[in-house]
Amino acid sequence: MKRLVLALSALALAGTAAFADPIAERQAIMKANGKALKSIAGIAKGAEPFDADVVMAALKTLNDDAQKIDVAKLFPEGTETGGDTTASPKIWEDMEGFQKAVEKFRTDTAAAVAASPADLDAFKAEFGKVSQNCGSCHETFRIKKG
């Protein structure tokens, strides 16, 4: 029991620590998104056979991650710079537009999970809608840095 309490405390601490560093936290979410996408991109391209379980697992990860993007917590004032953030200043200049873009990503990933695609064509349609968000949002709200 003592061990469990300790473990839970450690987890809680880890959770707090992560949020104490919103830049690291949002980057971890984006990395996880990339990984989930990579696991199903081959299927979407027709390079790998359709596998409903693999697809659902990835879509769920993407959706869970999308719901985690709490703009107020992950992009607070003061995290415009620092660390190796590549967030664009436009996030803070156009918070409303950014919120909208995040909201769209959440809606699209939730819809993809709800659709539970059972074949390649159904999946491709959802994959297209979900993955389109990456470039659209990064077009305005991310900058490349040296």
Partner: protein
């Protein structure tokens, strides 16, 4: 005649010669007869490929246009640079506000030499420095395709530039120094057809070097650091090094590059961002063969380390 008068006459003469030389050296130079003869009969179907390869809509459609609105070339996209703000003009088929009244020769002189039908220099924010390398027949095809696009009334605002950049005539000198229709990269060994095709697409219509190559103070491309990456023309960001040099994409396979151009995802499934989003959406409309050619070219060009300064590490608080 007194010494003062003689000096005055001398000074006036020097100024006159200087002004004359400036006038002669800054005169717009149009395409020669050989190039004009090579325009031939444009083909609209082939021209659509050039339209996307050259990225016309990315600057000349209205800001944030999507879908069919991309074919309404009303202009209005702003490019805020150190020289001032350039505004992409209306190049729709409207005869008054757009280019609907232009002949194919007018169009080719604008695209390949940066000279307007009125004989004025156009600013190289319009990348004729790259389009100069296009085949005249491809430019005629592009003209034919653009003839099929809608006329949209309304003029975009004028550029807003500071002196001396607002003196168009001065661009004549600049063109003498920097406008060339020859290829940038000369290969030692005879390149494959794919590399040559990729060179044409990337250095000509695709105008990759306009953003991915660092520039001199004058705005000319530093061709010794071709595609090595550069500070972005707008904002604080950078445009990545796409050679195989340090910091570049040497660890991407040719297929990785093709996939990126087609889908917008890097080998790590990071996504395309910034102004490249528009470019990638153009590239996905090309054929697989064209994307493979561009990738083959990028794998064949000389490697360079990053063409932009390393990032200033800010202490994180």
């Amino acid at each position: 005649m007194g010494i003062v008068a003689r000096l005055a006459i001398g000074a006036v003469a020097v100024c006159a010669v200087g002004a004359g030389a400036f006038w002669a050296l800054t005169a717009p130079v149009r395409l020669d007869d050989v190039a004009l003869a090579a325009l031939g009969q444009g083909d609209a179907t082939r021209g659509e490929r050039m339209f996307w390869a050259a990225g016309c809509a990315s600057c000349h459609a209205r800001p944030k246009a999507e879908g069919d609105a991309k074919l309404e070339l009303a202009g209005g996209v702003e490019l805020k640079t150190g020289f001032g703000t350039f505004v992409a003009p209306n190049i729709s088929q409207d005869p008054r506000d757009g280019i609907g009244a232009w002949s194919v020769e007018d169009f080719a002189n604008a695209v390949m030499r940066g000279v307007s039908p009125e004989g004025e220099h156009l600013y190289p924010a319009f990348p004729y420095t790259s389009y100069a390398r296009m085949k005249p027949s491809d430019v005629a095809d592009l003209y034919a395709y653009m003839k099929t696009l809608p006329a949209v009334a309304g003029r975009a605002p004028e550029h807003s530039l500071s002196f001396p950049f607002n003196v168009r005539r001065g661009l004549g000198l600049w063109k003498h120094l920097y406008l060339s229709d020859g290829p940038v990269i000369a290969f030692d060994d005879p390149p494959t057809d794919a590399v040559l095709r990729g060179r044409y697409l990337a250095e000509g219509p695709g105008h990759c070097g306009e953003c991915h190559t660092p520039r001199e103070m004058t705005g000319a491309a530093k061709t010794a650091q071709w595609l090595a990456g550069a500070a972005a023309a707008e904002g604080d960001g950078i445009v990545p090094n796409i050679t195989a040099g340090e910091g570049g994409i040497g660890d991407w396979s040719q297929d990785d590059i093709v996939n990126y151009l087609e889908t917008g995802f890097t080998p790590d499934y990071d996504s395309v961002g910034g102004t490249m989003v528009e470019v990638q959406r153009n590239m996905e409309r090309l054929t697989q063969e064209d994307r493979e050619a561009i990738a083959a070219y990028l794998k064949a060009i000389p490697p360079h380390p990053n063409g932009y300064p390393p990032r200033q590490q800010k202490p994180s608080s």
